[in-house]
């Protein structure tokens, strides 16, 4: 079996306060193979985004990792010197954030912001980097890249801006792309386009993706394997098809019950749209049960 690209082992994360630590993530473990697209799903506050920030080493002050390892290409990122981590960030592991509106500096052209990547990681000159930025814009299918390269973020639509962010993230051909709700802030039609773009580009370059979303539909359409997070724990993990055909954890079933289905009446009988709380009586039990299905052993033959 090949080595995993990213191996998160028993990650614990706390919010440290004077009175004591509040646990945020407990015992998170998952692996991402090279070129694989792995989905993390869960409601807001379940710890998906914090997990990604922990991998990137971008946690802000009261939050800190209190245990576990994040092994990327054989080295533990948590033990890496800040300088080395910085070189890795953006170059080998890149990230796309949720809000394309605010993720770009409003006072800087998009071309310059993409070009920064080449200057930072490949030692290119600004002039050269600008040319590469035009190519990068072209690769994410921004029309008129020569003109768009001098645009400011406010001159672009949300969809275009997110393309810029993607171009920026993929500029240095990273091995792992972390996409934190990359389509949530976009219109539904644009959402599909951007999703397809990420899928295509990463497939073509063999980039592994950690895809974070609260949207099961999006996860299903792009990921090979899915982890379900609840209250700071990874409560279920399985291949996408298996997970959707046979959700085993009560919370996962709850999540799916909250999905509106085409043609179902919302108020009648068994097909009622349910909220999660009505399915789950006692939330504290939830984090204690886990259904982790190993790779290849689909359809839940072992637990």
């Amino acid at each position: 079996m090949t080595e995993p690209l990213l191996d998160v082992r028993n990650l614990d994360l706390v919010l440290s306060r004077r009175g004591g630590n509040v646990p945020i993530l407990q015992d998170i473990s998952f692996q991402i193979m090279p070129g694989e697209t792995y989905g993390l799903v869960g409601e807001s506050g379940s710890g998906k985004s914090v997990t990604s920030l922990a991998i990137m080493g971008l946690l802000k002050k009261p939050l800190k990792v209190s245990g576990g390892q994040v092994v990327f290409q054989g080295q533990d990122l948590l033990k890496l010197r800040p300088r080395r981590m910085r070189d890795l960030r953006g170059d080998r592991v890149a990230m796309i954030f949720q809000e394309p509106m605010t993720a770009l500096n409003p006072l800087s052209t998009v071309g310059r912001q993409i070009a920064e990547m080449y200057v930072l990681h490949q030692g290119k000159s600004w002039r050269e980097a600008r040319r590469l930025a035009i190519d990068a814009l072209d690769s994410v299918k921004v029309p008129n890249p020569e003109r768009r390269v001098g645009n400011y973020p406010h001159q672009m639509s949300g969809g275009l801006r997110q393309r810029v962010v993607i171009a920026m993230a993929l500029a240095c051909d990273p091995d792992l792309l972390i996409a934190d709700e990359p389509t949530t802030a976009l219109d539904v039609t644009v959402q599909a386009e951007v999703l397809r773009l990420i899928k295509e580009l990463c497939a073509a370059r063999g980039t592994a993706v950690l895809f974070i979303s609260h949207d099961l539909g999006v996860i299903a359409s792009i990921c090979q394997r899915v982890g379900v997070m609840y209250a700071g724990c990874l409560v279920e993990e399985n291949d996408t098809v298996a997970l959707f055909s046979n959700p085993r954890h009560a919370y996962t079933r709850g999540l799916m019950g909250a999905l509106p289905r085409l043609g179902s009446r919302l108020t009648h009988g068994r097909q009622r749209l349910v909220d999660i709380d009505s399915v789950i009586a006692d939330r504290s039990v939830l984090t204690k049960t886990r259904f982790i299905t190993p790779r290849g052993a689909a359809n839940g033959e072992s637990a």
Partner: protein, 273 residues
């Protein structure tokens, strides 16, 4: 918590000024105007004259206590006038819109283009020196920011459900403004008024210092500094203490205003990660 500290210290200093001013007749050992005695002129601080005496032998400590009355009166009355003007114009402009809004907006912009001390100076030039002139001058100069805030808050409140509900119920415009809008913008208005008091105390001191405000022999902190300026080499205490009084009372108003703003502004509250 830091915000508590601001309110506490600011409130304490403000309370000190209020108590000093109100109880001046009982706290002051001497009369601020009548107890002039050239035999006692320019005495350094001692057990009789705590803050020393000025060029005419008057007790600086007593004069500062009485001066607090003037500063407080000017600060409070001018801010009441400012707030009334600003709130009335701001709410009505925001609520009614149209030509009235344009007019108020234009007026506000013009007022903001004239430095406030210059405007106060112009009004003082017309009205002549004295307490009443000061109250009018400072009451007319500082309403523009209050007006802006009242206007923009009203604009955002106008589209809120409960205001529209009140309109549907057939409430009159004035009643809606008074009962639905005013109570909801009191927070920022209060902050502006508190900070404005500090500004008014400073402006009063400056105008009196220039000889255009409170006239001698009445003990305004500003005019005390005019006197003290002439003899600063001989009696620096006559300059230090009135200035300190201005500084501490303005500091009090500013800290109080900052503290109130911090506790009202949702932006300052810790955001959830």
């Amino acid at each position: 918590m830091k915000l508590g500290f601001n309110i506490l210290l600011g409130g304490g200093l403000t309370a000190l000024v209020i108590v000093g001013g109100l109880l001046a007749p009982w706290l002051a050992p001497f009369d601020p105007v009548l107890d002039a005695n050239l035999m006692n002129a320019e005495l350094p601080p001692d057990s009789t004259f705590w803050f020393g005496t000025d060029s005419q032998g008057r007790d600086v400590y007593s004069r500062i206590l009485y001066g607090a009355q003037i500063s407080l009166t000017v600060g409070i009355v001018s801010q009441i006038i400012n707030t009334l003007i600003g709130v009335a114009l701001g709410i009505s402009a925001g609520y009614w819109g149209g030509w009235w809004d344009d007019l108020v907006n234009g007026l506000t912009n013009v007022m903001l283009a004239i430095p406030s001390l210059i405007f106060a100076l112009a009004v003082m030039a017309v009205l002549g020196p004295g307490l009443i002139s000061l109250l009018i001058a400072l009451g007319l100069t500082n309403w523009s920011w209050t007006c802006r805030i009242a206007r923009s808050s009203t604009l955002s409140l106008k589209s809120q459900g409960y205001v529209q509900a009140a309109q549907t119920l057939g409430y009159g415009d004035i009643r809606i403004m008074m009962t639905q809008i005013l109570p909801n913008i009191m927070g920022p208005i209060l902050v502006m008024a508190t900070l404005g008091m500090g500004a008014a105390v400073l402006a009063e001191a400056a105008l009196s210092f220039l000889g255009l405000g409170i006239q001698p022999p009445y003990p305004s902190w500003g005019s005390m500094l005019t006197d003290a300026r002439e003899l600063i080499r001989l009696a620096p205490w006559a300059a230090i203490f009135p200035g300190l009084a201005i500084f501490l009372s303005v500091l009090g108003f500013n800290l109080l205003g900052d503290g109130l703003r911090d506790s009202l502004d949702p932006h300052m509250r810790t955001r959830k990660a």
